[in-house]
Each structure stands twice: as structure tokens, then as C-alpha cells.
């Protein structure tokens, strides 16, 4: 069972499964190839699992151990049943929570595998002739367990906050930076010490402290910042897999680790970049709490115009070009289906309708895209920021539904604004702006007032997004 005695075909199989995982992600470069990409991923995973099953048949007294085999297959079947059921039942709007929950499982699995390797190093081929565990492997094991544990506890908190089981507010402990730094240093110190002393207490302490630091790191981060955190934890789960791959000398795990690690890191980077915030400031926490504070109350006295569903319907019917900008509010109101109907009705009237999606609209990367796809909006009617930005000048109506920060001109002009520097849609170039939100008081994620409310060409449509669009559809159908 030593890894060096794995037959050549098995090594090639692991390499093949790594390559298939690369092709899986590569498929996501366009919706057209994405489905076959996902299939490559499944094949890659099947190859990795079958190869391991075949090369690691449990044996007692030299003969295959049927009970042990049955237990393994049962474990897989159990996991499969739970996994498939969850995947079938879950609502598309609950995606962020689901991803967080799944991450916690990967993290915990990594911890368990690390502990199992510690308890039975012989099976992992990391035993020195002296009977001690190879010190190199101890480092990899220690790091794998630590990263796994952080991923687990961090993801649990992220899940609870996203799912509303825990207040989304940022919970700040006094002196938390010192505590966190101390804990991290202690973990690293223990991993170093572990190479000298392979006692159980060392690995137990690493595990425990890592669970704790995971909680501590994520608790102070506001609920709204969770997507960045989830992505970061995604990245961690990749590095944990890679660390285990170093221990097992397994190409599939190493390649996967690097892929997943990069993916999470790049998505976090994209989010931070699009929000014009530094990763550090997100991780340092506290930003997500601001909305409750409510900003710019003084400005709310400025005049604004309210419109009705009938007004909106009338104006859009007459329009030539309408650009729809969905945001987080559309997700909250689950308005994607009625919105699609609205677009269909308008097209029947000869209106040219396009959807414009900001890179950070909603609360996770690609959030709006997946919701519109769910509502059967073809992806070639959906445009990214840079592709549609130039078209606002020709647009008769910019129809903003549940978006706020992503259309806030303060990002372009007001250096003191927390969103300054974030690219935003040039909605003010459109002839008419329609703005759906529930109240004039409510602010977006960044908690700042929006000048668009008070523009001459703006018509505020105050109501729940789904309700409002339904009313517009009724008026359009007349």
C-alpha cells in the first residue's frame, strides 16, 4: 500500500483525472461548452475514485475483506443520496448558502483524512524505516489539517450568516486582531514543532486551534461580505486538497488543489476589484455592518418623482431601446420570471430589450446570470458592463430593478464615497430612468445614498420588485 508501489496505469489514471478537471473548468469559458465540461469533471472524478478503489482493496489476512468493501461502498452511496437530493431540492436563490455548506464538508473531510493519516501512517506510505512518520509529511499533514479546519469552521459561520440563522451583523471582539494573530502564530509554531515531536496532543492542538481561528476570522465579517469569504474559503479548500496531494504524492489532488485554489483566489480578487476594496479590508471586517447605520439622511429631502406601473408600461411601450439592470433586489424578490415575461411582452411591441449585468450585481459572482438563466432568458440577450456601457446614450429607458450601488454615479465623482472607483453603469445617459426599490429609505450593500433617485429623468417605482413588474406586465398586456 505504499504510494511508490502504485502501478504505472494508476499514476497515469490520476494524471488523466487531473487533466479532465482542467478541461472541466475550461468548458466554463462559454455556456455552449459548459455542459460537456461538467461531464469531463464527472469522468475525472470517477476515474480517480475507481483507481483508488481498485488499487486499495481492503484486505484481511491477505484476502479481500468483503465487509470493509461493503462499508466503503455504503459510505459512497450514502453521500451520493444526500448530495443528489440536496442538489435537486435547493432553490437557485439559496446558492450562496449551499456553496458555503459544501465547503464546510470538504474542510472537515480534509481534517479527517489528515487525522486518519496520522493514526495509520503506514497505509499512506509515509512511515520511515524507523517507525516514525516522515517529517516532510508531518508538515504537509499539519498544514492540511489546519487549512481544512479553518475551511470547516469558517464555512459553517458563513453558512449560518447567509442562511439567516445568525445575525449578518459584524460581531467585533475587542482586541481581536491580537487574538487572531496570536492563534495563527501558535498554529504555525505547532506545525513546526510537530516535525520534532509526533505526539497526539500536538496534532490535536493544531486541529482545535484551527477550528477556533476559523470561527474568529469569520465572525467579525458582515453578512454582506460573505461572498468574498466563501470564495476565499473555496480557495483554502483547494490548498488543503493540494497539501494532502503532497502527502499522498497524488497528481490528481495536486492539480485539483492548484485549480481550486486559484479559482477561489481569483474570484475573491475579481469581487474586491469590482467593489474597489482591498481584500485586507474585507477580511479585517466591519464593512457589512454599515448599511444598518444608514448614510446620508440629510440628502433625503431632495425632490424626486414617483411613477406607477401604468406610467412605466406606457413609456416602455413607446420606447425603442430598453436596458434592464437587475441587482440584488431582484434576487430577494425572486422577480426574474416576471421580468422575463416583461421583456417578452415588450419585444412583442417591437421594443429592443437587453439585460445589463454588472460584475458584482447581486451577492455572488454571476448571481444575476444564473437567476436570469433560470427564468429562461437566453444568454445572448445578457451583456456585461464593458459590452453595453456604450449603448446607454441610445437607450430610451434604463430599467433598474433591485440594483443600487452598481448604478451609483458617486462611484465616478465622489472621492469620499466608499464605492469610489468602482465601475458603474452610465444610466444617466438614458432618456428615462426607472428605478424599482421598496422605499426611499433603503440603501444598497454599500449603504450610501444614490443621486440617480433625484435626477430629472428618473421615475421611482416604489414596491416589491416582483409585485411591481407583475403590475407593469398587466398594464402592458392591455
Amino acid at each position: 500500500m505504499e504510494h511508490t508501489v502504485l502501478p504505472a496505469w494508476a499514476l497515469l489514471a490520476y494524471l488523466a483525472s487531473g487533466v479532465l478537471f482542467i478541461l472541466a473548468l475550461r468548458g466554463l469559458s462559454s455556456p455552449a461548452t459548459s455542459r460537456s465540461g461538467n461531464r469531463y469533471g464527472m469522468i475525472g472524478m470517477a476515474i480517480a475514485v475507481v483507481t483508488t478503489l481498485v488499487t486499495h482493496v481492503p484486505e484481511t489476512a491477505g484476502a479481500p475483506d468483503a465487509v470493509a468493501i461493503a462499508k466503503i461502498l455504503a459510505a459512497i452511496a450514502l453521500g451520493a443520496a444526500i448530495g443528489v437530493t440536496t442538489a435537486r431540492r435547493i432553490q437557485m436563490t439559496a446558492m450562496p448558502q449551499l456553496v458555503a455548506a459544501f465547503h464546510s464538508l470538504v474542510g472537515l473531510a480534509a481534517v479527517l483524512v489528515g487525522l486518519a493519516a496520522y493514526l495509520n501512517p503506514g497505509a499512506f506510505g509515509i512511515l520511515l524505516p524507523s517507525g516514525a512518520i516522515n517529517p516532510d509529511s508531518r508538515i504537509e499533514m499539519g498544514l492540511g489539517i489546519a487549512i481544512g479546519a479553518i475551511t470547516f469552521s469558517g464555512s459553517v459561520i458563513a453558512f449560518l450568516k447567509l442562511n439567516g440563522n445568525m445575525s449578518g451583523a459584524a460581531i467585533m471582539l475587542p482586541g481581536r486582531h491580537v487574538i487572531n494573530l496570536g492563534t495563527i502564530v501558535a498554529i504555525l509554531g505547532l506545525v513546526g514543532y510537530f516535525t520534532q515531536d509526533e505526539a497526539l496532543w500536538v496534532i490535536a492542538a493544531i486541529t482545535l486551534l484551527s477550528f477556533i481561528i476559523g470561527f474568529l476570522l469569520i465572525i467579525p465579517i458582515g453578512g454582506a461580505d460573505m461572498p468574498v469569504v466563501v470564495s476565499m474559503l473555496n480557495s483554502y479548500s483547494g490548498w488543503a486538497a493540494a497539501a494532502m496531494g503532497f502527502t499522498l504524492h497524488n497528481t490528481a489532488m495536486i492539480i485539483t488543489g492548484a485549480l481550486v485554489g486559484s479559482s477561489g483566489a481569483i474570484l475573491s480578487y475579481i469581487m474586491c476589484k469590482a467593489m474597489n476594496r482591498s481584500f485586507i479590508s474585507v477580511i479585517a471586517g466591519g464593512f457589512g455592518a454599515t448599511p444598518d447605520a444608514g448614510g446620508g439622511a440629510a440628502k433625503e429631502q431632495r425632490p424626486w418623482k414617483r411613477g406607477s406601473a401604468e406610467d412605466a408600461a406606457f413609456l416602455m411601450k413607446e420606447a425603442e431601446n430598453v436596458i434592464i439592470i437587475p441587482g440584488y433586489g431582484m434576487a430577494v424578490a425572486q422577480a426574474q420570471h416576471v421580468l422575463r415575461e416583461m421583456a417578452d411582452l415588450l419585444r412583442k411591441e417591437g421594443v429592443n430589450v437587453k439585460f445589463a449585468i454588472h460584475p458584482v450585481a447581486g451577492r455572488m459572482p454571476g448571481h444575476m446570470n444564473v437567476l436570469l438563466a433560470e427564468a429562461n432568458v437566453p444568454y445572448d440577450e445578457v451583456f456585461e458592463l464593458e459590452d453595453i456601457q456604450g449603448e446607454f446614450a441610445q437607450a430610451d429607458v434604463a430599467f433598474i430593478i433591485g440594483a443600487n450601488d452598481v448604478v451609483n454615479p458617486a462611484a465616478k465623482t465622489d472621492k469620499s464615497s466608499p464605492i469610489y472607483g468602482m465601475p458603474v453603469f452610465d444610466v444617466d445617459k438614458a432618456k428615462t430612468i426607472m428605478f424599482i426599490k421598496r422605499s426611499m429609505g433603503g440603501v444598497g450593500y454599500a449603504g450610501v445614498d444614490n443621486d440617480v433617485f433625484y435626477m430629472d429623468q428618473t421615475m421611482m417605482l416604489l414596491a416589491d420588485a416582483k409585485k411591481m413588474v407583475e403590475d407593469i406586465n398587466k398594464a402592458l398586456a392591455h
Binding site: H56, L98, L108, E384
Partner: protein
């Protein structure tokens, strides 16, 4: 495989990861999160190795628990990705 080989593979894989992820279209970032979740459960390889080792009952039970968790992720992750991707349609197909 010696450490340097593994390290070399890892370094190359990091470059591949960097490029392949940047080439993912933003519209598919949510499925990307789901599918990376599924493939990171390749950690199941380690879990299977542990479960198959009859030389330590404790290690084998830990392994089995990890197998359950990893397979939830694998099946759940791929299934939910497939569900999402099935929704992305182009105009021609309606």
C-alpha cells in the same frame, strides 16, 4: 515521485489554474464556484485510502466518515452544477 517532481507539477498546475479560471466567462462564475467545490472533493482519494486500511480501525472509521462527506460534495456539487448549466440557453434554442 520525489518532492521536486510533485512541486514542479504543482507549480505548473498553479499557472494552468490561473489561466483557466481567468478564461471562465463571468456569466458562469456561480457554476464555477459549484464545480470547483465538487472537484476539490478529490480529497476522497485520501479518504478511501484510509478506509481501506484494515490495520487501524480508528483510521478506517475516520476515513469512512470523510468518504461520506466527500461524496455528498461530489454528487451534490456536480448535480447542482449540471442543474444550473442546463438553464443557460442561447436565443436559437429558445
Amino acid at each position: 515521485m520525489d518532492f521536486i517532481s510533485i512541486l514542479s507539477i504543482f507549480v505548473m498546475a498553479c499557472f494552468v489554474g490561473y489561466y483557466v479560471v481567468w478564461s471562465v466567462t463571468p456569466a458562469l462564475h456561480t457554476p464555477l464556484m459549484a464545480v470547483t467545490n465538487a472537484i476539490s472533493s478529490v480529497i476522497i482519494v485520501g479518504a478511501l485510502v484510509a478506509s481501506a486500511a484494515t490495520t487501524s480501525a480508528a483510521s478506517s472509521w475516520l476515513g469512512l466518515a470523510a468518504v461520506v462527506m466527500a461524496s455528498i460534495n461530489i454528487f451534490g456539487g456536480f448535480a447542482v452544477t449540471a442543474r444550473m448549466l442546463a438553464m443557460y440557453k442561447s436565443k436559437k434554442k429558445g
